[in-house]
Amino acid sequence: MTSLEGRNLHLQAGGKTILEGVSAGFTTGQVTAILGANGAGKSTLLTALAGLSVPKGGEVRLGETALLDLDPRTRAQRLGFIPQSPEIAWGLEVRTVVGLGRLPWSGGRGLSQADGEAVDRAMDAAQVQHLAERDITTLSGGERARALIARALAGEPEWLLADEPYAGLDPRHALEAAALFRSLAEQGAGVLLTLHDLTLAARLADRVLVLGDGGVLADGPPASALTPDVLAKAYGIDARLRETDQGLAVDILGRWG
């Protein structure tokens, strides 16, 4: 089990302070959902935790080492990252795009047989095997999102950080992606997601980290962290957590106040 830990992070975006003094540690084997209103700093925090931005203050440590001291390639082998609605410049075949996920491992000579097997496993897991030959720019939003999840899985990273991986997925595929992230955590990976769907977060995550007011509003298992008070502060909504026989659900009753 390894840990990914943000210590006293001071993060900016576009020259504006977004988060101040945020500390949060994560362990492998868990799914953590990072929640918060638009502009609360979810993406900013996730990008810093992925080692892709330099914090204004504080540091991110992966196990015993500072993340920014790691060689970029080693970091990429250990931490997979799915950016929010990433641009895709060329009409590559889906299999080629998924193969890009092997770049941290492969040399310049292209994919080895082992790389090819990892690509196949990732495509099976994300259910995009049937799209292998398709041009990625012609896929529907949901198919594209799954292909990009497969791209990140292909690197078989110890940590998977995904920024809004559900954007564009219909409810059925969102549930399947949730099952996929769960099974990754059960196999020992650490999974960090930013999410907007509160019910999905409550069911999928072992832990939620709710951001707001430039810091952490709540941190813990969904059942105890997602109190009406926290939801009101974070989103300005009147909402209640409810037990159903399928798991937790969040009922949004209306705006707060």
Binding site: L52, A76, P83, P86, E87, L103
Partner: protein, 330 residues
């Protein structure tokens, strides 16, 4: 179109290059058929002194422009990128023209044989660095093309000023040479002056191949895959600076080769940027060599300059490309 394997395409291009090279040795004002190849025939001297350097230079320059275009298109994720469109070639031409002035006003430096290629490469390097600097993090298509327009205007103004202030008609003539690229009457010395730099430039560009593929997913996507983009920018700037700069230094500006070549290859090879680098070098060589044979065969009083012919063919191609892009964006 059905994709072909890279090996098939490369074999085909090498084969075409071989045939064109043989044709290039034969074609010109004086046709030198295969039977005349040999030391006894007086026409052999034409091949030896004129056509071998010209043919080899066409291959070197075509490879430099083709691969530079493919690398720039990959890096910018913009199919309209090319050393000519982005102003890198114009900056190299400005460098070459400046070196003429340096030679004229500082005779002490005029003896340095490498002065001109060095100035041309410096010009190209400045061009690429300005491009990368101007566009920086947000490398949108529009910013990049506008940056190219700016470089072309600045370099054009510099060259026009040089023409304006030219000390004598001979200098005017020399300067015009760099505006309209040509392979006529080039010697082995020209080849020796450019080939090593082009070779180093091409190797540097090939080193960017993983990064170019990763950049398909955007800058943050590439960085998340462990790509060090500052290293990529350095390799790209040096690679294009050396390859395109050394080419312009000996042949002048030959536009559109870098733009057209990757486009012609994409239907066969697919759009993966790294897969286009080597084939674009070969394809660029084929196009420049074919163009150079063509200008020799056009019956005209003065030989049509290769740069002019390429622009005449490339302009409509560029227009067609814009129309297709516009339809796709609409």
């Amino acid at each position: 179109m059905r994709r072909l394997s890279p090996l098939t395409v490369i074999t085909g291009l090498v084969f075409a290059l071989g045939i064109l090279a043989a044709l290039s040795l034969m074609a010109g004002r004086v046709w030198v058929p295969l039977e005349a190849w040999g030391r006894e025939d007086p026409r052999w001297i034409i091949i030896l002194e004129l056509r071998i350097p010209r043919t080899l230079l066409a291959i070197v320059v075509g490879a430099a422009l083709g691969m530079s275009g493919a690398a720039l298109q990959g890096y910018t994720r913009n199919p309209l990128a090319d050393p000519g469109v982005l102003g890198v070639s114009s900056m190299a031409a400005l460098g070459a023209v400046v070196s003429l002035y340096v030679g004229f006003y500082l005779p002490a430096l005029a003896g340095i044989a490498w002065l001109m290629p060095l100035c041309a490469m410096a010009g190209a390097l400045v061009g690429v660095l300005v491009l990368i600097g101007l566009t920086g993090q947000a490398s949108g298509t529009v910013t990049f093309v506008l940056a190219g327009v700016v470089l072309n205007i600045v370099a054009g103004a510099g060259v026009a000023l040089a023409l304006n202030l030219a000390p004598n008609p001979w200098a005017v003539n020399e300067i015009v040479n760099w505006l309209m690229g040509s392979l006529t009457d080039r010697s082995m010395a020209d080849l020796q002056m450019s080939a090593p730099f082009v070779a180093v430039g091409l190797v540097l560009l090939i080193l960017t191949r993983r990064a170019l593929d990763a950049l398909t997913l955007g800058e943050i996507g590439a960085r998340s895959l462990g790509i060090d983009l500052s290293r990529t920018r350095l390799l790209l700037a040096l690679g294009v600076g050396l390859a395109a700069g050394a080419s312009v230094a000996v042949t002048g500006v030959i536009g559109f080769v870098g733009l057209v070549t990757p486009h012609l290859l994409r239907p066969f090879l697919g759009p993966r940027p790294a897969g286009l680098l080597l084939p674009s070098a070969l394809g660029g060589a084929v196009i420049v060599l074919a163009g150079d044979i063509l200008v020799r065969l056009i019956p005209s009083a003065a030989e049509v300059r290769l740069g002019v012919a390429m622009a005449a063919l490339g302009g409509p191609f560029f227009l067609a490309l814009l129309l297709i892009q516009r339809r796709r964006l609409a």
